[in-house]
């Protein structure tokens, strides 16, 4: 048994104060195994110790919310007796160390969170952030990370049989040493067949199912709670290895076993593995769990209790069965060829007792682990920013050439190379997949479809975490509304740097507060999510990068796409031209791509107006008045026009009448705007007016040309197919030269 030394404590990422708290909770010194157990449960990743006091500010209630934060996933009532479970989770650190397996197991982990509740996963989306592909030093590594992450996601999701229906990919230098891989998953089930991670009923058997336990992933949760240094690459053995085939079997076996009625509670073994699942299930039910590790199926010989308890081997679940009905569960797992072993029993002691061949190696109060974790009120000052408030003087010499550049830039260009590697159609429910403003997946069992979108503009959040977070929520709700869906609930992934730095903590606090305000305003409560801190490499933090995933509901029907379908249609800019100035232009894609600069503030957001635009577009779409609809976001009006022209090769002739300078007019990213092509502009105008929203007719669709004039002056004149070619081939060009 290793002696507990200050070095050992520090190597477990526990502070001296935290160690003292452990000693006082136990009333004695912990054993080595106990120290390991505390270290993972009290890690930032599992305990949210830096963010918890602020997360409480987020709205979590709503009339459709069946389950809010605290369970494996949030649950929303979608009517007709059905519900959906969804959540987003990060796998940032593992994906930097080993991109393929890091991303693959990120997908695997979030899928288990969904089906452990009894829901069958029906959609996955990914928010990815990479370093710049053209970075002189880090470019080659960044390109390898992109290849690895995308193949990893494809490998896992495709084999498992869940469609990857959308997402977003952004490239910034701040992600050079710290890519972000946030995976969202959503599942569907009957509302009366929800399973929770509660170990109820003293005397009930505790059963381990799924893959055998190995030494992989030990201390993954604490690794994900530390900054990266030069030694981090040596942590490769800490990254778990995924087996999507096994996960598929686990899915089918779990869902079938749930049908027996013999399962009392169930939880996946994710971060902190057996430790987390045992103490959380006990803590939630107010019970204790006693297990003997000799019964745990093991892949390697000679594993210590410490290793078994901390292993993050994938594709494992812990469940509690009704006493006397264990065999019903064993039969199902045997059918699917999976291990299932009774490893212990639920007790009424409130303690987690871990034995090894009968000898007690850990005995800890469950609540001490799960609920008594330290909570920090970390000091915060003003959010970190070094960008100037004032923008540079600039004037475009060729706006069409600027559009060429923006359209072929890494953030804006087509991501087809990525999403064609994903099976986005399996299960035959994808009504709108990658490339749409929001993905739409139908629920065959009801007349309802689910729309979903991920958003997270790090540039806006860097300029103002509070305003940026609001803009993110607004854009995500706008995406959903544009396809006709009513946004109903949110999951969030808060990716930030080191919270022990007050200026980083300030970013986190501001972003949470801004997000909370916007989620309340749009009535999209947060039902769960994930916090990923310490996203820094060698002291360089990432942009504050909150990502939201919002889901919406709509009647199942043919979706309205973003693309213009035919010539001779009126073009309406719902919400109007919007406004910008030099300060508010500094976070745009134009500033990034054409000027290679970042300054000022994010675009101004008028929350009530934004909400009215959403209500208007939903009515317009539901009424069948829009032949196409596409929300304006990155790249502004010019990019939206081009993106709407690409799908069917139908162009646009636009005549504007604005006093804005042309760069702003074409490329500002003011929110609350949606581009519509329609055969009935009067209906569009009437419905917009009823919501107090401007519906500006800006031109019409034409064959294969994109022409934009302001007050008679020709600003852009481009052939749609030439532009599309640039947009389609840019990413592969950057990846493979």
């Amino acid at each position: 048994m290793a002696a507990i030394t200050p070095d050992l404590i520090a190597s477990h990422q526990l502070t001296a104060d935290e160690y003292d708290k452990i000693v006082s909770l136990l009333g004695r010194e912990p054993s080595y195994t106990e120290l390991g157990i505390f270290s993972v449960m009290w890690s930032e990743h599992c305990s949210y110790k830096s963010s918890r006091v602020h997360l409480k500010k987020l709205p979590t209630r709503g009339k459709l919310v069946v389950q809010g934060p605290g369970e494996n996933a949030g649950i929303i009532d979608i009517g007709e007796g059905w519900a959906i479970a969804f959540k987003i989770e990060s796998h940032n650190h593992p994906s930097f160390i080993e991109p393929f397996q890091g991303a693959a197991t990120g997908v695997g982990g979030i899928l288990r969170d969904i089906f452990t509740m009894g829901a069958r996963p029906i959609a996955v989306m990914d928010a990815l952030r990479f370093g710049r592909l053209d970075d002189p030093a880090a470019g080659p590594r960044n390109r390898r990370i992109v290849e690895g992450v995308v193949s990893g996601i494809a490998h896992y999701g495709n084999c498992f049989g869940v469609p990857t229906v959308g997402g977003e990919t952004v490239f910034e230098s701040c992600y050079n040493g710290n890519p972000l891989v946030n995976v969202f998953a959503l599942g569907v089930f009957r509302k009366d067949q929800i399973f929770y991670g509660k170990a109820k009923g003293a005397g009930n058997p505790v059963i381990y199912v799924g893959a055998k336990t190995g030494r992989d992933g030990i201390h993954g949760a604490s690794m994900a709670s530390a900054e990266f240094t030069e030694e981090s690459k040596q942590k490769r053995p800490n990254v778990q290895v995924g087996d999507p085939f096994l996960e598929k079997l686990l899915l089918e076996a779990c869902l079938e076993a749930m049908q027996t009625g013999a399962i009392v509670g169930i939880q996946d073994m994710g971060a902190a593995g057996l430790t987390c699942s045992t103490c959380e299930m006990g803590s939630r039910a107010g019970t204790g769990i006693e297990i003997d590790l000799m019964h745990v199926p093991q892949r390697e010989t000679g594993m210590t209790p410490y290793e078994i308890m901390l292993s993050e081997s994938q594709e494992r679940m812990l469940l509690v069965a009704e006493k006397g009905r264990e065999h019903e569960i064993f039969v199902v797992f045997k059918k699917w060829g999976l291990d299932a072993a009774e490893i212990g029993v639920v007790t009424d002691t409130g303690k987690l007792v871990v034995k090894d061949h009968g000898k007690v190696v850990a005995e800890i109060d469950n609540r001490a682990l799960a609920d008594e974790a330290p909570v920090y009120h970390r000091p915060f000052t003003e959010p970190l920013r070094t960008a100037p408030l004032e923008g540079p003087a600039f004037e475009s010499h060729d706006l069409a050439a600027d559009l060429d550049a923006v359209i072929a830039s890494a953030d804006i260009c087509s991501k087809r190379w990525i999403w064609e590697q994903y099976d986005y159609l399996v299960r035959s429910n994808t009504l709108a997949g990658p490339g749409a403003d929001a993905a739409i997946v139908r629920i065959k069992e009801t007349g309802t479809s689910i729309a979903m979108s991920l958003d997270g503009n790090g540039r806006y959040c860097y300029l103002s975490p509070r305003e940026g977070a609001k803009l993110i929520v607004a854009e995500c709700c706008r995406n959903l509304s544009t396809v006709g869906a009513l946004p109903v609930a949110t999951t969030n992934n808060l990716n930030f740097g080191n919270p022990e730095r007050p200026e980083i903590m300030a970013q986190l606090v501001d972003a949470i507060e801004g997000m909370g305000e916007a989620c309340s305003f749009f009535d999209v409560p947060i039902t769960g999510g994930n916090v990923s801190l310490y996203n820094e490499t060698l002291g360089e933090p990432i942009f504050p990068s909150p990502v939201v995933g919002i889901v919406g509901l709509l009647k199942t029907a043919m979706p309205v796409g973003i693309g213009f379908k035919a010539e001779g249609r009126a073009l309406v800019l719902l919400g109007g031209i919007g406004d910008s100035d030099l300060t508010r232009f500094g976070g745009t894609q134009y500033a990034k791509v054409v000027l290679d600069a970042l300054w000022g503030l994010p675009p101004a957001l008028d929350l009530p107006y934004e909400k009215s635009v959403h209500a208007a577009i939903r009515e317009i779409v539901a009424g069948g008045h829009a032949e196409s609809a596409h929300d304006l976001a990155d790249g502004g009006l010019a990019v939206a026009l081009a993106e709407a022209a690409f799908p069917h090769g139908v162009g646009a002739r636009v005549e504007l009448d604005s006093a804005l300078r042309p760069e702003f007019l074409l490329f500002h990213e003011g929110p609350s705007r949606i581009l519509i092509s329609t055969t009935s502009p009067e209906d569009v105008r009437r419905l917009a007016a009823a919501h107090g929203v401007e519906a500006l007719v800006i031109g019409s669709t034409v064959a294969s040309k994109l022409e934009v004039r302001n007050r008679g002056q020709l600003l852009i004149d481009r052939d749609v197919n030439t532009l599309k070619q640039r947009w389609e081939t840019a990413l592969e060009g950057m990846l493979h030269g």
Partner: protein, 225 residues
């Protein structure tokens, strides 16, 4: 009409096919478990897409040894209709029920996209309701869908009118743009694309229906219920 839908560990488009057969076509479907040694009283067998047994060795290489495949061999030998889609095609090839092999896509990447297929022959129970040269828009979703066979086999397939579908734009490097083929007796067909995901307007295409409708018509003519 009763379609037997085989479920191997790792099959993942079994539900898509069951749903198409029952909800879209209004016929009945029965699951055939990989460990079963009989296909029961089904009128036709469909082997769905997915990753049977994980496909870690070679696609379909393990599935061919499963008990259900022995039963399907016998069913096919008796003239029963057998349709293999994607992984099902790979399994039929590995089992020797169809010639050739399906190897890694030329791009070395998984590819999911809608493609256009051309019906090459309507002299089959799977395409009799279609017309020769008819274009079908259906999705592909596979990493190992590049059809490969030696020249003699390819010539033989063509000479015997056993190439059922060709890609208009080849997504995977398949030789001679082959997307689907028949056995000599014309009662076993394999194809890489997924007609089951193109059977409703909501899914963007109903072109996949021609295959299932042809099968239903054939079975009806043969006197199945």
């Amino acid at each position: 009409m009763k379609f037997g839908v085989v479920v191997f560990p790792g099959s993942n488009r079994d539900h898509d096919i069951e749903d198409t057969v029952t909800r879209v076509l209004g016929e009945s479907a029965q699951t055939l478990w990989h460990g079963d040694s009989s296909v029961g009283n089904v009128d036709a067998v469909v082997l769905p897409g997915g990753f049977s047994y994980g496909d870690y060795l070679r696609c379909g290489a393990i599935a061919k040894f499963s008990p259900i495949m022995q039963a399907i061999r016998a069913f096919a030998a008796d003239g029963g209709l057998v349709l293999g889609i994607c992984n099902g095609f790979q399994i039929l090839v590995e089992s020797g029920l169809l010639p050739g092999a399906l190897v890694r896509n030329r791009s070395l990447k998984f590819v999911c996209r809608h493609v256009d297929l051309r019906i090459q022959t309507v002299n089959s129970p799977f395409t009799a309701s279609g017309t020769k040269g008819q274009m079908l828009r259906v999705p592909v979703a596979h990493g190992e869908g590049c059809y490969y066979a030696d020249e003699r086999t390819l010539d033989e397939l063509e000479a015997e009118d056993r190439v059922v579908f060709r890609y208009v734009q080849n997504p995977n490097g398949s030789l001679r743009d082959i997307a689907g083929i028949l056995n000599k007796e014309r009662n076993v067909m394999g194809l890489m694309p997924h007609p089951e995901d193109a059977c409703e307007p909501l899914m963007g295409s109903t072109d996949g229906l021609v295959i299932f409708r042809s099968m239903v018509a054939e079975l009806a003519a043969a006197g199945a219920k």
